[in-house]
Amino acid sequence: MQTEAIRSVLVVGGGTAGWLTAANLAQSFNSGAAGAVSVTLIESPDIPTIGVGEGTWPTMRATLQKLGIKEDDFLRSCNATFKQGTKFINWQHSELPGSYHHLFTSVSDPTQFNLAPYWLQGRAGDNLSYASAVSAQGVIAELGLAPKKITNKPYEGVLNYAYHLDAGKFAELLKNHAQQKLGVQFISANVLDVTLAADGSIAAVVTDTAGTQQADFYVDCTGFQSLLLGKAMGVGFRSVADTLLADHAVTIQVPHPATDTPLNACTHSTAQAAGWIWDIGLTNRRGVGYVYSSNHVSHDEAEQTLRRYIGPAAESLNARKLAMQVGYREKFWHKNCAAVGLSAAFVEPLEASAIFLIEAAANMLADQLPALKQNLPLAERKFNSSFLFRWQKTIDFIKLHYALSGRTEPFWQAARAKSLIPESLQDLMQSWQTQPVSAYDFAHVYEPFPMESYQYVLYGMGFKQQLADPQRYRQAEKAGMYFQRVQQLTRQLQQELPPQRELLAKIYQYGFSAL
């Protein structure tokens, strides 16, 4: 039995996680071809998707390209816009307004040549923020310009970029594409029960209208319910509610007042008394939500805060409240089942980690799912250690935003209490007080957030770094050339890059040339 082959995969649950995973697996296994490993997705016609993950990382471009989806089709069908980073507003102080950018493009990859010591020495000029010293993208995003031109190839950018997208429409696009082009089989039915074999592996999934479904391998994409991995197999949930205090979100979708309302070119994240508000611009509407700690603010007050943020436009709009289980499963893969998406883990959407970690899990699953059952245990160990690392580092990175804040409300004071900061993060922060952020701080290949992300946040939040040995940084001339290049690019790209809407209109009309 142990030498049996894995010939079929059943993905339970649709949504972004289910369809991205099914599409990726089917593409990788060539499931459309006769005799290939089959990929089936079963989705409930009754359970709505959560659909609040509407910001991606630049990795999404490679993912869509791998799946064979055309960029113009994707943009058009998902009301998608270009995202060039996140603008953090009022994160540093409660009273003093201020903002900084976490961007996707830097003039120099800091793991190759780190400009930060020279910026600290004032070589980029006084009063220039770190982000503006090392990247033209902040100014471009502030002006609402696109990261590319109509003459660029699909998925090619003048500046690095990700997307804002309508998660419901995105799942719909993937659903059609996965069935029509990639050979995913689709079953619409409700799961009534999950049965286990004697060894504790999943034996079958019992449905209301499609009988009992069996497969050699199962992927649990059932959201917070975690029907397979959590409920049936009993894999425990490790809450990180003591580290990340926000436990609820209230969201409102705000239609744009006009079809030519300018679009933000990055996600806005604005700090509030007991959390923060995300603001994501799609072509037809904004998605706005307040992530808050119910220990520090009542649900009503949170909703009022969100409505005040939106202004008069919020009056006629419905708000939706969500409880968030913050944390991760003790294992992400157990025997013949792996969990992807909310069923595996969830943290507040501060750095758009949700979709990005779905992509990562689907990629690793597509690569590591063995052809023979006998190799399952090793794949399971690798997958679990990899994703435990990725989730812990994601939690560290989100915590960093809170740890650096000087805001004075009780929520913020509680959020940066030293006892709640993971030790791994405390060590790094301590070393960064006197020495630069280093590539060796991120030596793991599957580090979810790169060195430059940490730098944007650290310096953006006004982290006090006093380099202990300034003598070491002797390449001031080289650094100066980079800083000049950024200023030159900033001027040049302002002239060259079109406003987001203008580019999107051209894409709808002409599409990108495939070449």
């Binding site: 109509i150 003459t151 040339s513 070449l515």
Partner: protein, 232 residues
């Protein structure tokens, strides 16, 4: 700058159209639009390349007439230096536009900023609210050009389908100056052409596509001659 307006028998009653065999409007154009129907004739004079239109991102065919923006090596104050003159150059400042795709109707428009279009010298355009014979003859050739433009778009779409276009960068080393790259040019991928199936190959025959493909390939022999002009 150009200022394209529709010709109007009322508004432009007093206007005349002059021809200038020196074509001053292209004195600094390093590419000139070509239509597929012109390739065979143009190939003996210039390299034929494909570029992306900066406004639409769509490919169009062009004669390469200079080695950097702002440079036209075929243009001299004494006269045009090539055997062939592209149709769009000859038609200027007139062009035919189709207000609704597929309607078959064309509007004749003019670059109102062109000195060729003026009130004091040239051929009369309207007499008694009607286009003159001269205007009608110019309008016919503008419409013919617009019609070939549709063929060109079909031809380019076919090249893209067959993956026959490939990006080409020309590295140029002018005497006594730093080498530089001329980017944004696309040509025909000869390797890919050789790999076409018999069926794909035959599909290119429609609208004389095979002739056009080979005209583009043969026009590449004009490239060293173009570079040579720089030295003169």
């Amino acid at each position: 700058m150009t200022n394209i307006v529709a010709l109007d028998s009322q508004q432009h009653q007093q206007h005349k159209l002059r021809e200038d065999p020196l074509f001053p409007h292209i004195a600094s154009a390093h590419i000139l639009p070509l239509e597929v129907t012109e390739f065979a004739a143009a190939a003996v004079s210039f390299p034929i390349v494909f570029v992306k239109d900066s406004a639409t991102g769509q490919f169009r065919a062009c004669a390469l007439t200079g080695l950097q923006p702002g440079q036209n090596l075929y243009w001299q104050p004494s006269g045009w230096q090539a055997a062939y003159i592209p149709l769009a150059v000859r038609n200027y400042p007139l062009l035919a536009v189709q207000p609704e795709a597929q309607s078959g109707d064309y509007i004749i428009a003019v670059d109102a900023d062109s000195p060729l279009f003026n009130q004091h010298s040239g051929e009369v355009l309207f007499a008694a609210d009607k286009g003159t014979a001269y205007l009608q003859q110019r309008a016919r050739s503008a419409i013919a050009l617009a019609q070939s433009s549709a063929l060109t778009q079909q031809f380019i779409a076919r090249l893209l389908e067959l993956e026959l276009l490939v990006a080409r960068t020309l590295t140029l080393t002018p005497k006594g100056a730093e080498p530089y790259d001329l980017t944004g040019l696309y040509g025909i991928n000869e390797q890919r052409l050789a790999q076409l199936t018999a069926e794909q190959w035959l599909s290119l025959r429609a609208n004389n596509g095979l002739l056009a493909v080979h005209a583009v390939l043969m026009s590449m022999s004009q490239l060293p001659l173009l570079v040579g002009r720089l030295a003169q």
